[in-house]
């Protein structure tokens, strides 16, 4: 992870912490006080929130920005001549530009607002189905014939996917008579890249993959996937839900400028990407589909109605260009404002995603160490730290995840239990469910140590031996 390339923020505001280098422990302590919820107690213990992979907490700056918008400028966008409508429109389009800069998109128009990651993937698959059904919107670029899926074509996904980036593709394949293939997960939790070229056949139209697994924490070799897709004219679709909160992202082809975070990211050159605000320290109910502008221009809408039309007669309708074409109905403006505030917070108050990524490497190392030391606990996913983020999904011998989560909760530690909406990868790794700790930059080494200690109490609590030195409760 290099942070040495951070460019000056073009957002007007100077970034006080913009110097390269990981966040320091003292800075993290200070930043934690920006998150009101991190100060609360659970039971009578201070909360250790290790469930940011499910949803992240929000800094006061986000909460305030949303409240201020609602108290002052709340209105529908792109309609009405009044002052509030104009302020709301400016705020909404400003948020679009902000998101675009943060993820290294070539233009604001590459960002379609959706209600989240799940909605973004569904929007894309529905639009692709409509295109396959003969609806057209614009010329399909010769560089991406993969946009048009015919019976017998292939859609390739991976076995590591969250259901959000799996089920919509399964459904699309079934609807279009296409074949679904997948890149398998190896026993160590990584994707079997050796099979990539064989799986991505000439007839492959779509290669959909997660950037980071929400179960194993493994980071996908995006370049290898994009290369494999583009070699056969397929579109590369990336689920960035779990990477956007942890890594500098540059989704476009060019080294992005104008944003301290995007500038530090390696240009990925994906065709589409999906991500959501609520894992990025922003509000729930908003996310985005990133798409190359020339591809979005060729896609028919998924949903139709108000806000996405040029003109409507009783006989027919002409649609607005992207992104408005994909944003039917009244939009979540306060949420967009909150998301933009979260990105400002990450760039300006924290100093950019590269600083976060470097700090989190320390957290991840500590997390892997903590779980490795507990008898009867098996880590699902890579135990080595290369290309791996701070997620530890655990199988605890003799203890069901629900029971483990309960014991940890009694110690003030919030983890997630279950299959985390990724049943296939759990099955592949030999379990039905797991206990998952997932980190964010506001976590501390001390919290991870507390987690390690509480984890060591879990099996003894249920009368299982093998945990050296642990007591019964």
């Amino acid at each position: 992870m290099t942070a040495g390339t951070s460019a000056a923020s073009a957002g007007g505001a100077a970034s006080p912490a913009g110097s390269p280098g990981p966040l320091t422990d003292a800075e993290v302590e200070r930043l934690r006080s920006d998150f009101p919820i991190l100060g609360r107690e659970v039971g009578s213990q201070p909360l250790a929130y290790l469930d940011s992979g499910a949803t992240a907490q929000r800094p006061r700056r986000v909460i305030r920005a949303m409240a201020e918008f609602v108290e002052r400028s709340n209105a529908g966008v792109h309609r009405g001549a009044h002052t509030l409508a104009s302020e709301a429109t400016e705020a909404f389009e400003g948020a679009r530009a902000r998101v675009a800069r943060f993820v290294g998109a070539p233009a604001p128009e590459a960002i379609v607002f959706t209600s989240g990651t799940t909605a973004a993937v569904n929007l894309l698959t529905i639009a692709l189905r409509n295109l396959a059904g003969g609806e057209t919107a614009g010329p399909v670029p010769s560089s991406a014939p993969g946009l048009v899926i015919r019976p017998g074509d292939r859609i390739v996904v991976t076995e590591a996917e969250h259901h959000a980036n799996l089920v919509p593709w399964q459904r699309l394949a079934a609807q279009l008579g296409a074949e679904l293939a997948w890149v398998p997960v190896l026993p160590n939790g990584r994707l079997d890249l050796a099979q990539l070229d064989e799986l991505v056949t000439e007839r492959t139209r779509v290669l959909a993959f997660t950037h980071v697994s929400n179960v194993t924490g493994a980071v996908t070799d995006v370049q290898a996937f994009v290369r494999a897709a583009h070699q056969v004219g397929a579109i590369a679709v990336m689920d960035a839900a779990q990477s956007a909160p942890h890594l500098p992202l540059c989704l476009g082809d060019q080294p992005a400028s104008g944003d301290v975070s995007a500038a530090a990211g390696v240009p990925l050159g994906v065709d589409f990407a999906a991500f959501g605000a609520h894992k990025m320290f922003g509000p729930g109910g908003i996310g985005a589909l990133y798409g190359r502008p020339e591809l979005l221009a060729a896609l028919p809408p998924a949903f139709t109605g108000g806000g996405m039309v040029q003109a409507v007669t009783m006989r027919g309708t002409t649609y607005l260009p992207a992104p408005a074409r994909f944003e039917a109905g009244t939009q979540p403006v306060a949420e967009a404002v909150g998301w933009a505030a979260a990105l400002d917070y990450l760039d300006e108050d924290v100093g950019g995603m590269a600083r976060i990524a470097e700090y989190e490497e320390r957290l991840t190392a500590r997390l892997l160490e903590a779980v490795a030391g507990v008898p009867g606990v098996r880590l699902l996913g890579p135990a080595d730290q290369t290309d791996r983020l701070g997620v530890a999904s655990l199988a605890i011998d003799g203890v069901h995840p629900h029971d483990a989560g309960q014991v940890l909760d009694a110690a003030g530690i919030a983890v997630r239990v279950g299959h985390h909406c990724a049943m296939p990868v759990h099955r592949k790794l030999g379990v039905r469910a797991s206990t998952r700790a997932s980190l964010a930059f506001y976590n501390t080494l001390a919290e991870i140590d507390r987690f390690g200690q509480a984890l060591a109490q879990v099996r003894p609590y249920f009368g299982l031996t093998g945990a050296a030195g642990a007591e019964g409760e």
Partner: protein, 162 residues
């Protein structure tokens, strides 16, 4: 760990380690297969009805958390030999107990009838765990209804389970 120990009563821990009602008997009058989709718990449960709609036998196989396994075990002890009507009353009382949110259960007659199942009262303080405790009771209700209706078809198993 006050609330935690209230949840994991000794009786619950013991039943979860050596549950009653296993293994599953091959013959049945009614079969049910239930899952808890949030955490992947599952149970397949068989009942056989005798004369007078008496639950002659209840057996099951499944996997899940200690609450779901112990609840199945205690339920099996409780309803074996009871009539369908008595079992339905127990089921309703247990469901009510689960929804008391730790505020106490003042139906003394029902508490007496529930017996060991009262050990699950602490579960009501943990809304996320109520489903676990009710998994077996849902299966019982379903299997009993099928047995009563003479419906011996095997339970539908959603894809990806088992």
């Amino acid at each position: 760990m006050g609330a935690l120990d209230q949840l994991y009563q000794q009786l619950i821990l013991e039943h979860s380690k050596a549950p009653h009602g296993k293994p599953l008997k091959a013959d049945y009058g009614g079969e049910s297969f239930q899952v808890n989709t949030t955490c992947g718990d599952q149970v397949r449960l068989h009942v056989t009805l005798g004369p007078g709609d008496v639950l002659e036998d209840v057996s099951w196989e499944g996997s899940g958390c200690s609450i779901s396994q112990a609840s199945l075990s205690v339920m099996t002890d409780l309803v074996r030999g009871k009539t369908l009507e008595e079992a339905a009353t127990l089921s309703a009382d247990f469901t009510e107990l689960m929804h008391t949110r730790g505020q106490g259960f003042d139906d003394d007659a029902a508490a007496d009838a529930l017996g060991d199942a009262m050990a699950f009262e602490g579960v009501s303080q943990f809304p996320m765990r109520v489903k676990c405790a009710l998994l077996g009771w849902m299966a019982l209700k379903d299997a009993a209804a099928k047995a009563k209706a003479g419906d011996h078809t095997p339970a539908q198993i959603p894809e990806g389970w088992e």
